[in-house]
Amino acid sequence: MVKQAISIPGTSRQTKDKANAKKGGAQKVLLGGILPLALVIVWEALSRAGVFPAYQLPAPSVILSTITGMAQDGSLWSHVGITVYRVFAGFLIGALVAVVLGSVVGFYKKAEHVLDPTIQAFRSIPSLAWVPLFILWMGIGEPSKVTMIAVGVFFPVYLNTVSGIAGVDRKLIEVGRMYGLNAYQLVTRVILPAALPSFLTGLRSGLGLGWMFVVAAELMGASQGLGYLLVVGQNTLSPETIIASIILFAVIGKLSDWILKIIEERALHYQDRAVKP
């Protein structure tokens, strides 16, 4: 009796929710698309009318043809490829080190006392200040760039890992203990799953910083990459190259965040959130 009364409206409500979410999603995309579309049209029109001088702000169509031109001669893919590779490598290294250190600091009070003050002190250094030093140490090749990005990714992932582990509900740990779980089982079956939401948040903000730092790293000295295109555009007085590069950064950055967001939603589907994605 009781279970039926509760579970049946529950399931029907869910399917309804899903249908609504789909409809709402499409509507949201439409609504959110109006303004950018209007801006692009106005921009194009004003550029053609000669209001914006082409050597400062080229028309959207010119930028688009710059991108397609690069795609056709193949240079686009190598620029995008190398930038994505740098972010990916830096992200992987930074996140990995952050997870290891963050877990140690999160689990062991002693480790926190030993390590955390130093890490916090390093955090207060604006990360871009490392750039000259890294170039001095590692040259302007890949290692200095990847290290740079790794440093940027490290801190948000580290902080969120620590707070995720330290913030696990003591009451849930008690349940685990009540069932005789040993320390290892407590970690894998209670603490890690409970810390997962915070950890994933860290990964997403870490990735965002990774994209920020790849620009800095590539501006400093690179012969390839989207950041290099920015420099080229500036030196050859071609704003369309700069804007094309900016747009590519935005698109790829958003795409990578979107992938992480999907992973996050899949992993945290159990969460009871007020705002459904």
């Binding site: 279970k3 008690e174 009540m178 159990y270």
Partner: protein, 242 residues
């Protein structure tokens, strides 16, 4: 004796929370620990459970000294404390060891018993408070504990759900003959469920009174006998002074 406490006390940083508790429970007995808040009844239960090992005195479960969490004890907390990332069935089978198939079979069986047979794939976010506490009860029972410890298990539920779950608990008791220690501040609940009610009072808390409820179950909730006992308990709690 299924459970025996000798001179049990607990001191936190020099502050004594509860002291000199002597108590025993026979197999299949339901003991109520009743008292106003702060009298150390939950502290006592945590000591019995083995979650809190720093108690004074001696606690024995089935003759074995409690020096850590005992396999023979199950615990139902005030809140359901379900793992939000596990389904209902996974939550129930959390404490089981062995093959997955057998665990699930056991879990489904116990879920049917608590009336949640077709909710096994739901996540805790989709449960009402009463359903969640049913899952918690199932989780505690699935390991077939000999002693079940309950820390105000129904205090967060509405009156009707509370009565339903109290009856559910009695059904389980009838079937499995589990010894239970129930911490509560609800006098009616204690009278409805318990064979004996131990009343704690004061800071630090001490046992001031013990009442045997000799009534056969199921007890009519409004009976005059229970009402008399309630008056008795209220007197010994002496609420006017504390």
């Amino acid at each position: 004796m299924a459970l025996e406490l000798k001179n049990v006390g607990r001191t936190f940083d020099g502050q004594t929370a509860v002291r000199n508790v002597n108590l025993s429970a026979g197999e299949g007995e339901i003991i109520g620990l009743l008292g106003t808040s702060g009298c150390g009844k939950s502290t006592l239960l945590r000591a019995i459970s083995g979650l809190d090992g720093n108690y004074d005195g001696e606690i024995r479960l089935n003759g074995k000294l409690v020096d850590g969490v005992q396999e023979s004890a199950g615990f139902i907390f005030q809140e359901p404390r379900l793992f939000p990332w596990l389904t209902v069935l996974e939550n129930v089978t959390f404490g089981l060891t062995g093959k997955a198939g057998e665990k699930e079979k056991k879990g489904r069986e116990i879920l049917r018993k608590v009336g949640l047979g077709d909710s096994e794939n739901l996540y805790p976010k989709e449960l009402s408070g009463g359903m969640a506490q049913r899952v918690a009860i199932a989780r505690a029972l699935v390991t077939s504990p000999e002693v079940l410890l309950l820390d105000e298990p129904f205090s967060a539920l509405d009156a009707f759900t509370k009565m339903q779950l109290q009856d559910l608990l009695l059904d389980i008791w009838k079937e499995a003959g589990t010894t239970m220690v129930l911490v509560t501040h609800d006098i009616d609940e204690a009278l409805y469920l318990c064979d004996r009610i131990v009343i704690l009072r004061g800071r630090p808390g001490e046992v001031v009174h013990e009442i045997s409820v000799g009534e056969p179950r199921p007890r009519p909730r409004g009976s005059t006998r229970l009402a008399e006992l309630k008056t008795d308990i209220l007197e010994s709690l002496d609420l006017s002074r504390s």
